[in-house]
């Protein structure tokens, strides 16, 4: 897949001669709104017509040199081409229905960062101040396709491993006689598989594991600091020591259960629990404790918590609500420690079409985790009964909401909402549908900069978050599956250590093949960030230079 954006000869020649003049000229005609295409309107009172035939059908182009309009209906009736024959050198034009650059000589759409920037400026200004969020100034030169470049580099590193030291090694599987440390069964204390499964995942979440194994939670200072007799961090540290001790007999996390029940009165009872609910509750308790001993709130005006829970799992979600009448967008940010995804039951058939194999018409397709993420970040039209007040219009109008991820956590926990609670029917049911999930997950399409960029037509422009050092590539290390029914099911955790999957079914630890994990019914999936091996300074092939060699000027706010 080529990622170099080399302008055609005609475009480079045009830019050498005319620079940004043409781009600046068309700016006044840009008419934009988010989620819809960007049009160009030369005149507010007349419909656009071809200067040759006065026709208004087909594609219409404005010449960037003389601003004359011409149409292109078919290869036989191409007045735009006629224009280039009459006026030598007038090869670059703008498609007014899409605000896209077109090279008439090459008969192809072409792309230029300065042009995109010009259009973006108009879009930002035209849509009101509500659209400044996420559109930052273009200080450094941006490599738009650097993510794509990274993807192709990582293609060959599919089997990157997560080893005990938190480092990535590409070694072959270690011999059977030597099992990874930290692998130990957990006794079921009576319907406590929900607890065991979550504990196994936490025991192998790299930042968590490193924190507790290096003794960062100090039991003595913990006891002195607060009056609580029960501390889940202390208890979990005991579990870490026991599980990583080398003793392979199954361990009973009884004290942990007791402490948790004492600290979570409302959830304490002998019955099946929801693993996700338990997970959230545990993180909460650990945060509460750590938060007290670590955060002196005065140095944290932004409210960023540095406890182990937040350092490992905390991310930031962005929610944009756009008024469908004026395009004004209001943005809010919310921290999160996991992402709950609705099961997307819409089957993606496009992939079947893309492959040139004959598909049976009865092919039902598979739901995938990435399609659930697509659903999560899809623009959602809010109902007409949910009209929100638009600051720009000063009225209530229908709006569109869109979620995206502003900051990815180090450990990404994805929760598949398999348990449906119907208030109307006062019943809950479990969705058994199989969900495909990748072992390597690229979160690029779901981060705020990608979502906002897409909303503005994927223009070549710097969006907030592009410069982030955080890798968007994640690798799975733990999967919690649920089998059985809502009321009486069983949780099992699959752990991936040194490229080998292990099934942790309460006290029983066994080795399993990839396909067992792939075919299981996932409920919670844990991914850890793959470190960026290729840092800035490399040229991954996208040369977005304006022909005149000028560096990007800052466009904060408006031009």
């Amino acid at each position: 897949m080529s990622t170099t954006l080399n302008p055609c000869k005609h475009l480079s020649d045009y830019k050498l001669r005319y620079g940004l003049k043409g781009f600046n000229m068309i700016q006044k005609w840009v008419k934009a709104s988010p989620y819809r295409k960007t049009l160009m309107e030369k005149s507010k009172s007349e419909i656009p017509r071809c200067s040759f035939c006065c026709g208004y059908e087909g594609r219409l182009y404005i010449c960037l040199i003389c601003s004359s309009m011409s149409c292109s209906l078919s290869p036989e009736s191409n007045h735009a081409l006629l224009h280039t024959q009459n006026q030598i050198g007038h090869e670059i034009a703008v498609d007014i229905q899409r605000s896209e650059l077109y090279c008439i000589a090459c008969d192809d759409q072409v792309y230029d960062p300065d042009f995109d920037r010009a259009v973006m400026c108009e879009q930002i200004v035209g849509l009101g101040n509500g659209n400044l969020e996420g559109i930052r100034s273009n200080i450094k030169r941006k490599r738009l396709s650097s993510e794509a470049g990274l993807n192709s580099d990582f293609k060959n590193l599919k089997r990157v491993t997560v080893s005990g030291g938190g480092e990535w090694d590409h070694d072959r599987r270690i011999s059977k006689s030597c099992f990874p440390v930290g692998l130990r069964g957990l006794n079921n204390l009576g319907n406590t598989c929900f607890m065991n499964s979550v504990l196994q995942a936490l025991l192998h979440a790299p930042p968590f594991r490193n924190y507790f194994l290096s003794g960062r939670h100090n039991k003595d200072s913990c006891r002195k600091a607060s009056n609580d007799r029960f501390c889940l961090s202390c208890d979990i540290e005991v579990i870490f020591s026991a599980v990583f001790s080398g003793d392979r007999a199954p361990y009973s996390p009884a004290q942990f259960l007791y402490s948790w029940w004492r600290l979570s009165e409302n959830l304490a009872c002998y019955e099946q629990q929801d693993a996700h609910e338990f997970f959230m509750s545990v993180l909460d308790r650990i945060h509460e404790k750590e938060g007290k001993t670590r955060n002196t709130s005065k140095d944290n005006p932004a409210g960023d918590c540095h406890c182990v829970v937040h350092r490992a799992f905390s991310g930031l979600l962005r929610s944009d609500v756009t008024c469908t009448t004026c395009g004004f967008t209001s943005t809010t940010y919310d921290p999160c420690v996991d992402i709950s995804l609705d099961l997307n039951t819409n089957i993606d058939h496009t992939l079947h079409i893309a492959s040139n194999k004959a598909q049976k018409s009865t092919d039902t397709g598979i739901s995938t985790l990435t399609s659930c993420l697509d659903l999560f970040t899809r623009p959602e039209k809010l109902g007409s009964d949910q009209k929100l007040f638009c600051q720009n219009c000063q009225e209530r109008h229908e709006s569109v909401k869109q979620m995206s991820i502003r900051r990815l956590p180090l450990v990404l926990c994805l929760h598949v909402k398999r348990f449906e609670h119907s208030l109307a029917r006062k019943a809950s049911r479990k969705i058994d549908r199989h969900l495909q999930f990748p072992f390597s997950l690229d979160m690029t399409p779901y981060v705020s900069s990608s979502i906002v960029r897409k909303r503005f037509g994927n223009r070549i422009f710097a969006f907030e978050g592009d410069e982030s050092d955080i890798s968007t590539n994640f690798e799975v290390f733990a999967v919690i599956t649920h089998s059985g029914m809502l009321e009486s099911g069983h949780y099992v955790t699959y752990l991936r250590l040194n490229e080998q999957w292990y099934k942790c079914d309460d006290a029983w630890i066994t080795e399993v093949e990839d396909e067992i994990v792939r075919s299981s019914q996932i409920y919670l999936v844990f991914y850890v960030q793959k470190p960026n091996e290729h840092k800035s300074g490399e040229d991954s092939g996208c040369h977005l230079r304006s022909a005149s060699g000028e560096s990007y000027k800052s466009v904060a706010g408006c031009c």
Partner: protein
């Protein structure tokens, strides 16, 4: 006045225009995504789907069924009874409890659940003596 035939022709023509415009919109978007390298790697995604389908097929095959893991030997060569038999002392009341029955015991011991009574006397001493 235009005849019905002319109207039909106009309507058809209008439809063609609209359809053509929509198709152009989609092509233009896809063209941009492809040229700027923003497209997702469809090959990888297809590979993943294929692996997933293969995995499910192989697992569904009855000849491949995985033994019920409660009766197998684990990777360390150990076997375990279905109900955990380790015995330890309850932190609440101090009594010796079998691990596999700890949760139901604890529920009654702590006074939760329907038939529970909070176990008294030794709970405070037991908790104080408990090593933290």
């Amino acid at each position: 006045m235009s005849s019905p035939a002319e109207n039909t022709q106009l309507a058809s023509h209008l439809f063609d225009e609209l359809l053509g415009s929509i198709i152009m919109d989609v092509s233009s978007e896809c063209h941009r995504i492809a040229r700027l390298g923003l497209d997702r790697n469809l090959d990888d995604e297809e590979e993943e789907l294929k692996l997933s389908a293969q995995a499910r097929a192989r697992v569904a095959d009855p000849s491949n069924s995985e033994a019920n893991s409660k009766y197998v030997v684990d990777i360390f060569g150990q076997t375990h009874p279905p109900v955990a038999t380790e015995i330890f002392d309850c932190m609440n009341c101090g009594r010796a409890i079998v691990a596999g029955r700890f949760a139901p015991h604890l529920e009654k011991c702590m006074g939760k659940g329907r038939k529970a009574r909070v176990k008294s006397t030794r709970s405070s001493t037991a908790a104080a003596a408990h090593n933290r």
